[in-house]
């Protein structure tokens, strides 16, 4: 059943690219919409050429350094953003005074479209990877922060009291109740925050850089090379899928204690 479904999904993919190719190949469709037979290919690219570009990237190895840079930026943005978000979430969650004081600022910073910070980060951190990491961090931070903040507030008071009665002091309470509870909220937002880290990296590259998949796309766009733009988008999509798969694997390992959908009551 699963194999058949997969076969159909694959067939659909082939069909989409087939139709795309038919509609864009110069001369294949009579020029009804476009007066120039090359116009469709100019705007929408041709799948065969797109795959040629991708093939060349991977066989000649030109893509690897760009993927590596984008991966580095994404990973750094996620780790730094998540760590800061965790720390800030725990702090504000446990200190009502600080939370009340900072509330309007947190709301304002979250409401601000943070992509506009990219030029500032360029000035501060240059065109290297750190300006992209900084942009990713601002995106990841708030997702993790709000999840942890909520997580700390929703720690079961019974579990808390029980741990107190078992003799935990304040530090042990933080380490054995608040932290695991908050971490589980971080992991539940893992897919979103890793995705955001990637967005930060690519948008940053697109706005100004010398390496990375975003840079490739930006360069090709400047030369009106639509096939390379699409090639970059496809590579990026595949990259995001691989990342998402890795995140799902990590989640499965780290959240074994969570009641899953498939195994609610085994006994």
């Amino acid at each position: 059943m699963r194999r058949r479904l997969f076969a159909w999904q694959l067939l659909m993919l082939v069909a989409i690219f087939g139709v795309w190719q038919l509609l864009t190949q110069p001369g294949l469709v009579p020029p009804i919409v476009w007066e120039n037979p090359d116009r469709a290919a100019f705007f929408f690219g041709e799948p065969i050429r797109i795959f040629k570009v991708i093939w060349a990237w991977f066989t000649e190895g030109a893509i690897y350094q760009h993927l590596w840079v984008t991966l580095q930026e994404t990973a750094l943005a996620f780790v730094i953003g998540a760590a800061l978000g965790l720390a800030a979430g725990l702090w504000l969650g446990l200190s009502p005074t600080a939370a009340a004081l900072l509330d309007p600022y947190v709301t304002a910073m979250n409401a601000m479209p943070r992509v506009v910070l990219a030029p500032i980060f360029m000035v501060w951190f240059g065109l290297g990877i750190w300006s992209k990491v900084a942009l990713g961090v601002t995106l990841v931070f708030f997702i993790v922060f709000f999840n942890v903040y909520q997580g700390v507030k929703e720690v079961s008071p019974v579990v808390l009291n029980n741990t107190l009665m078992l003799g935990a002091n304040r530090r042990q309470l933080l380490r054995h109740v608040y932290l695991p509870s908050a971490t589980s909220w971080v992991f539940s937002s893992l897919h979103t925050s890793v995705g955001m880290a990637l967005v930060g990296a690519v948008v940053g590259e697109y706005l100004g850089s010398a390496r990375g998949v975003g840079y490739l796309i930006q360069q090709a766009e400047g030369a009106f090379d639509i096939n390379t733009v699409f090639a970059g988008i496809l590579v990026l999509t595949a990259f995001a899928l691989v990342l998402d798969f890795a995140v799902a694997q990590a989640e499965k390992r780290l959240l074994v204690w969570r009641p899953g959908q498939s195994e609610t009551e085994q006994l």
Binding site: V158, V159, T163, L166, G167, Q172, W257, L267
Partner: protein, 268 residues
């Protein structure tokens, strides 16, 4: 000799939405060393409030609590507490939940693990140590809680309707196991329940509370049933029935009062 737990005119008032609410008023009660005392009362009468005061989780508005003669300040380190709802840490497996208390006290990990294994065996959970709470049944989770509390060997046990969420068979099994563990190593127990039969079957003494607000004890009954007891069988003896009758009569009015209040609250 000083009582294990002594409530001295304890009053608890909360700031509610509709003005201050006095849950417990002027409760004076003493639980002797090694004594098993059940506290029964209508629902919502502040039984749990009383237990939280004894645990040190809640500071009374008035009056004092003394533990073995010493006034209580902060968390009661001599007491173990078994909660009505789920209290296990869901991110720790069964074994790690049982070792938690020892861990907090700085007991070396392998020693804590050894003791926890022994306790899991004693509560019938040998071989389930690596399960997480959500993988255990309700009864097994209660057993884990029991082991988690008893491993610290507290001289006082505070139990807040611990078995109320279980089905009747599991519940009687657990009650018998509790009695067995208790008789092997007599601790002072305050057992909160709304189930009079459970209270009589387990205890040396039953304290009846009035309906809230301003709950206070309105009767005390010594339970002179012989031990060891089987909670299922003892319910059928004439002495049990006579005791049940007497206590129920004193409670009935309060239960009806409590019921009427809850009903009015729902309507309002």
């Amino acid at each position: 000799m000083a009582a294990a737990v002594e409530f001295d005119r304890v009053t608890c008032t909360f700031a509610g939405t509709g003005g201050p609410y006095t849950a417990v008023k002027e409760v004076t009660l003493a639980i002797g060393e090694g004594e098993f005392v059940s506290v029964v009362g209508p629902t919502g009468c502040g039984k749990s409030t009383l237990l939280n005061v004894a645990a040190g989780l809640l500071r009374p508005t008035g009056g004092a609590v003394r533990i073995f003669g010493a006034p209580l300040a902060g968390i009661n380190r001599k007491a173990g507490y078994m909660f009505q709802s789920e209290a296990l840490m869901p991110w720790r497996n069964c074994l790690a939940n049982v070792t938690a208390g020892l861990e907090f006290r700085g007991v070396p990990a392998d020693e804590a693990k050894r003791q926890a294994q022994a306790w899991l065996e004693r509560v019938g959970l040998a071989g389930f140590g690596d399960r997480y709470p959500h993988q255990l049944s309700g009864g097994m989770r209660k057993r884990t809680s029991l082991a988690q509390m008893l491993i610290l060997d507290p001289p006082i046990l505070l139990m807040d309707e611990p078995f109320s969420a279980l089905d009747i068979q599991t519940r009687q099994l657990m009650e018998n196991e509790l009695l067995e563990l208790w008789s092997a190593n007599r601790k002072s127990v305050i057992f909160i329940t709304h189930d009079l039969e459970e209270a009589i079957a387990l205890s040396d003494r039953v304290v009846v509370l009035s309906a809230g607000p301003a709950t206070h004890p309105i009767g005390e009954f010594a339970i002179d049933l012989p031990r060891p007891r089987d909670v299922a069988e003892i319910r059928l003896t004439p002495r049990f029935i006579a005791l049940h009758d007497r206590i129920w009569h004193s409670m009935k009015e309060e239960v009806l009062k409590g019921y009427a209040q809850t009903k009015n609250r729902v309507v309002a």
